[in-house]
Amino acid sequence: MPLTITSIAVELRGAVAQDITALEIDGDPVAIAADRSWRHVVTVPPTTTVVAVTAIAPSRSQTRMVEIGSAAAPAAPG
């Protein structure tokens, strides 16, 4: 069986400001660590996917977008 790339995953890492009380990615809650960092794994599709990261604070919210995609070339024999 020839070698192929079967999947690609991207772990996004980031930080939130001190006033942020909740973090969502595509509507799902994501834990905020004590040092204000967060991480989230995205399985990259053959085309592209857009991930929406939303930080929520009592007085503000902010959403940032990340587009992630992949492409695999045909396998070459060894």
Binding site: M1, P2, L3, T4, I5, T6, S7, I8, A9, V10, E11, L12, R13, G14, A15, V16, A17, Q18, D19, I20, E24, D26, G27, S37, V44, T48, V50, V51, A52, V53, T54, A55, I56, A57, P58, S59, R60, S61, Q62, T63, R64, M65, V66, E67, I68, G69, S70, A71, A72, A73, A75, A76, P77, G78
Partner: protein
Amino acid sequence: MDHTQSATEPQQAGSSTADTVLACATLAAVPLVLSACGGGGGGGGGDGDGDEPAPLGPAITFTGLTIAVTTSTAAAVHIDAVAADAEGAAAFRLDGGSGTVSRPRDPGHRQAESLYEFAISAEGGMGSATGTCVVRINPAPEDILSESDARVLSLRHLFNRMSFGVGEEELGRWLNVPYAEAVQRIVDAADPSQTTQRPPSAATFHVLTWTEYDRLSPAEQQAYGDSKGDAISGIYAWWWREIIRTRQPLLEKMALFWHNLLVVAASDVFEPRAMWGYLDLLRSNALGSYRDLILAIARDPAMVMFLDSNSNVKGRPNENFARELLELFTLGEGHVYGEADVVEVAKCFTGWGITDRQVFVLRQDRHEPGAKTVLGSTISFADDDPEQVRKDGEAVIERVLQESRVAVFICEKLWDEFVGGARDDGMIAGWADTFRGSGDYDIRRVLKDIFTSSAFTAAGNRGNMIRSPVEYAAAIFRATGLQPGRYIDYYWRASQEDQALLNPPNVRGWVGGLQWISAKTLLERRTHMAWTGWEFYNHGSQKVPERLDGVLELLWFATPVAQRAYVDDAVLITWDPRGERIRRLLTDPALNCK
């Protein structure tokens, strides 16, 4: 067999983006102020009331990413010439890279996109394979939020109606969330205690009694009147600012809806503390129970003053509030009640008034004794019961709310507000069943029904209602994330277009619809569009973050696509194509519709 694990390296925090505040001096219009990053705080402007909090840092920064590659058989993996670990993973800082190797970086909120392609290669006994992983931070909205995507169109419609327009962030946030779930979460999350600013000075305005006022000199009386005017203007600015900056626009939209139903006009009442209390009442109850809202409005000092309830006393009933309660707040003119009911309801509310300090009070000695008959039911509490004054008023409200017509009346108003056009009585009846059946006239519950109904979501129902002056101005600022330099100026502009916030023309409120583009108001709107266009044009000529230099693109993105009449660049032959495009976009029917 798959070979997948991942490991990471310690990462540095991404660079922060300093807030940028700019002001544009324009010829005849107010300056715009840009607040970059954070979405809250850090901006200038404001009118003295509702002080700005201290600037906040970036809400979100991207600090790094790890790419993990899984191969069909064991292989040595390289990602961007970096050898992956035994698990096929390699970690990267988002710091722009170093030396000759460039890396992606986090450009910061609302900055130009950062795009990077990671080349992947795998070598093993069974051959080799290559691939690419592309990461783009801050993709432009027009690239990712395709207008042909049904999800985007339905979300934009939702926000155009239940909010005051929408920008890329709000759309992006809900893009991957199922529509019904998004509706439920948005409706449930609205919290009146979460405001973007502190209350205005009107909240603590010192009220003089008539005796105290009479003791003032003429100059002092003048000064007191001026201070009242200033405080009331502060309320106008406060609400305009909240509408434009709130992160829960549904709450402000519903407060505005109830304001147009349970009308009190600030110019009539002209008492800052009472008017702030009225607005606070509307906002606090906007998404709660309509029963609670009616009970609260009956006791509201501003409403008492507006409808002269203090003069509704034993032997001389004043029917104002009683009539509005039946005709405008619950049943609607010509439904269920008669003139005799108006008289009897008025008697139930005798003794409901306010003190000299504008505090609500129940005066048993001014209350009409005896039984009252309302809608065929007898309300009777003992004349020597000191609570009769309270019980009669509350009981008559409860009796009125028993009528099935109440839920239908309110749902008809909600149809006119959110759906528009010819009413579907069958669908309204269904909503009314939900509203009434909740037991407490639960506003959130019926809104969820409305926003997920076929009437609301129908494609033919998009972009076919005219935005009110408040909605139009708010849509522009919410779509672009910009702020007016002075919110009070937008109060005056909208008042020239016949929508002075907190000052409806009469007890029936604003009619809306085509009224917003009458011969008079259309000309005013056109003038204000030109001013706003000039401000936006000047904005683009300043040193602004690159993404926001595309103010035009952000506005274009925010408009309903179906009805755009916007002229293509190719036909614009002018020395000032950008200014002309902004002007045409602001006057485009699509941006004026929702």
